[in-house]
Amino acid sequence: MSSLIQLGYEEKDSWVHKLDPRTKFILFIWASIFNYIFYDIYISLAFLISLIVLTVVGKVAKRILKIISIVLIPFYVLSTLVIALPIGFPYNKTPLFSFTVFGFGVTFYLEGAAYVAIWTLRLAITMTSALLFFLTSNPARITTILLKLRIPYKYIYALLSVFQLIPIMQRRIQVIYQAQVSRGLNVNVGLFKRLKNFLAILIPLTLGSMSDLQLRAIALESRGFSAPVRKTFIIRSDLTKSDYVILSVMVALSALFIYWITTIGLIVFMKGIPYIRPAG
């Protein structure tokens, strides 16, 4: 699954790209938290549609929708088959529709279907908002902000360098794999041989990465990586009017959500479906 994603920020001229990374990160946390509090398909759908609009404005909709669909469609289909069918989900009471398969009557239940839909939407929202932050935020601006927050540079380096390392390693895997295939590596073999194939790729990759380690450490030190001086910034990152607008909308909506939770409950618009906790 991890090989599916094209990692990394792409410089694009969009309103979303110009937003401060802090605003997008707060949006990610805020959207995720409220969606995990409410148990309402309509609220989740409204969140998801708003986020998709932002991804379109940020010119990253195609990438994000591809990732979301690859991850969530199998999750949704498999979960619906298990939970909405009369397999054992204890809250199933209201038949949604029925059909016949090989002479057996099969019924889909509303409670199970709604439960899976809500959880899938929750995941879609948290993933979309995370990817929106990640794909539209310049790493240099993130570094500047984290340094301003007095986070030690070594930890910032560790976080951000992963995104450089992953594409390098993915390219190396392809090179090693091609070399191994030319030496007769066959993937259509038994389980034990497949494990040997796995090691045949993993060991050269790891040894190569460990060799690079010393080179990387020397290169970093030669640029004063651990020098006990105050780091300066090339790029500034300040909140703009757009950031204040987004933050104000979030504050206003939070007030509305808290009002709904205290007066109506966690199911605001969706009627006739009970609130279900995973642990019963």
């Binding site: 995720s32 979960s79 989900f89 959880w119 993933m127 895997i173 040894l207």
Partner: protein, 205 residues
Amino acid sequence: MSEEEGIEVKPMGAYGETILKIVLIPVIAALNYVTGAIVTLTRLPAFLDTWATSFGVIVAGLWVGALGGFLYNIIMALTLWGLPAWVWGFINVYIAVITWVFYRAGWVDVKKPGKLIAAGLITGFTNTFACTLVSVVAFGALPTAPSPFMTAVYAWALNATGNMVFASWMSSVAVELYDKTIALYIAAIVASALPKRFILTKSTS
């Protein structure tokens, strides 16, 4: 040129080791991440995305492995899994701690396959409880892995008990036992293939 050919290799100072350990943390996170790609290429029915955490512990100590593993989950939460999945980072920290315990006890050694397999099975079994907790909190105790085998185990357990949490735990047991055992074994094999100059921890033997 190598140590075997008679070249004198000066031991690295504590300062140099610290820099190497910091640089190793993202390497561990990236190795865990790209393991998914190798698993897909070699068609292995496993995740194995904790092997590099154990490898980091063996090569550079508990904190390097734990931070590398935790960072991997942060990256996954920011890219593929979404916010709630960052709590999975604690599973990687747990894997680092238990690997460190077994490593210090001398069980993580390819020359002692019985002990190594036992360590992997214990790691896998104890990890099922943490996995179930994350599955309930982040995924509503639904079948999370896109694996027909895990889903079939989940459906069977749900049908037998009507309890989603138990079904989620059973599907974890079906995978975690062999997945973590293989992951720990791989970490030990790769660490044993590494030249000694890369090992930043003191040997247990």
